[in-house]
Point group: C2
DNA sequence: ACCTGAACACCGTTCAAGT
DNA sequence: ACCTGAACACCGTTCAAGT
């Protein structure tokens, strides 16, 4: 798994193949199947490792600020590995892992309506994943010599994400007022 | 492209291969490369077709309601094709299409701050894509005989999505009050 | 303009057999 | 317990050549 995470960061998801990983480990491809049932299972563990890389959000003035920080720390963890967001998105969609990402956000929302909290946490994670996935693809495209667009748009994904997060948090805040 | 969309709905994304598509069209695989530069380009057009399937949201009492309806209509379009959300997610991430989804939502948000509107629309699309992707994988897993869980959880994705959307809309509403 | 034939350089996975 | 060897059943893509 550690070798897989390293290889992912070096060559990207499309080139992270079982055969190439075996080569890296000086082993036959078939040997990997003693340790993992299949590639998806391996990727699920890689995904969990990426999410676990999320740095803890220290103390905050209020839970609204803590939720925002927790989400941005998840963003940083995804950005720390090439194609991190795509790997975690797939794993989460398949229901094979990455659920720690949701539960961390969930815990930081200090409201009592547990269904609301769960839905909000899931929404926040989808938002972060979508934003970073988009951003990582764009980074790669630009590094491959595709003429980068207006300088104005370089930090756009980060700002857009923060706006989206703040909208959700503002919505939660109003729900709190109502209750 | 029409054949590809049909095949996607029949066999799912993992089995939508160029070779299988060629078989369906009674043609050699290489023939497809006269019409499309590569598989991604073809998938981008499939993705656009799925998004174009979104039914128009008629008149509404207010823009808040219209935004909600537009998002749920996008949801329905994605659900209308097997693995629809995954296909559109990838295409959008790669920046190869599906941008109509964002601009439709954008137009339905009747606020003047264009940066805010854009960020909100993008957030809503990420939310819908993440939710439906998750839901479609779960549908497939269940249909493959994986013991389906508590009946309570069957409609959970749909409700969670609506909650998330309402939080964003509530946030937008407050932004409007401030302005 | 559109397609075939043939090839290139790969994939994930299984499974008997080895140590 | 862990790995090799060999195979199975595939992939996406290119490109000369055909009509």
């Amino acid at each position: 798994m550690e070798a897989a995470l390293r290889l992912l960061d070096q060559v990207g998801l499309p080139d992270l193949t079982m055969r190439r990983l075996a080569l890296e480990l000086d082993v036959q491809p078939s040997a990997l199947y003693w340790h993992y049932a299949n590639k998806q299972t391996l990727l699920a563990e890689v995904s969990n490792a990426i999410v676990a890389f999320t740095r803890p959000a220290g103390a905050a003035d209020n839970w609204q600020q803590k939720v925002l920080r927790e989400a941005l720390n998840l963003r940083d963890a995804l950005l720390a590995f090439r194609d991190g967001a795509e790997v975690v998105s797939s794993t989460l969609a398949l229901g094979l892992g990455a659920s720690d990402a949701v539960s961390r956000i969930e815990k930081s929302i200090a409201l009592t309506d547990s269904k609301l909290v769960k839905a909000a946490a899931e929404s926040i994670v989808f938002l972060v994943l979508g934003s970073v996935w988009h951003e990582q693809q764009r980074m790669q495209a630009n590094s491959l010599g595709v003429a980068d667009n207006l300088l104005d748009e370089i930090n756009a994904p980060a700002r857009n994400l923060e706006v989206g997060l703040e909208l959700i948090i503002a919505g939660l805040n109003e729900a709190k007022v109502k209750a």
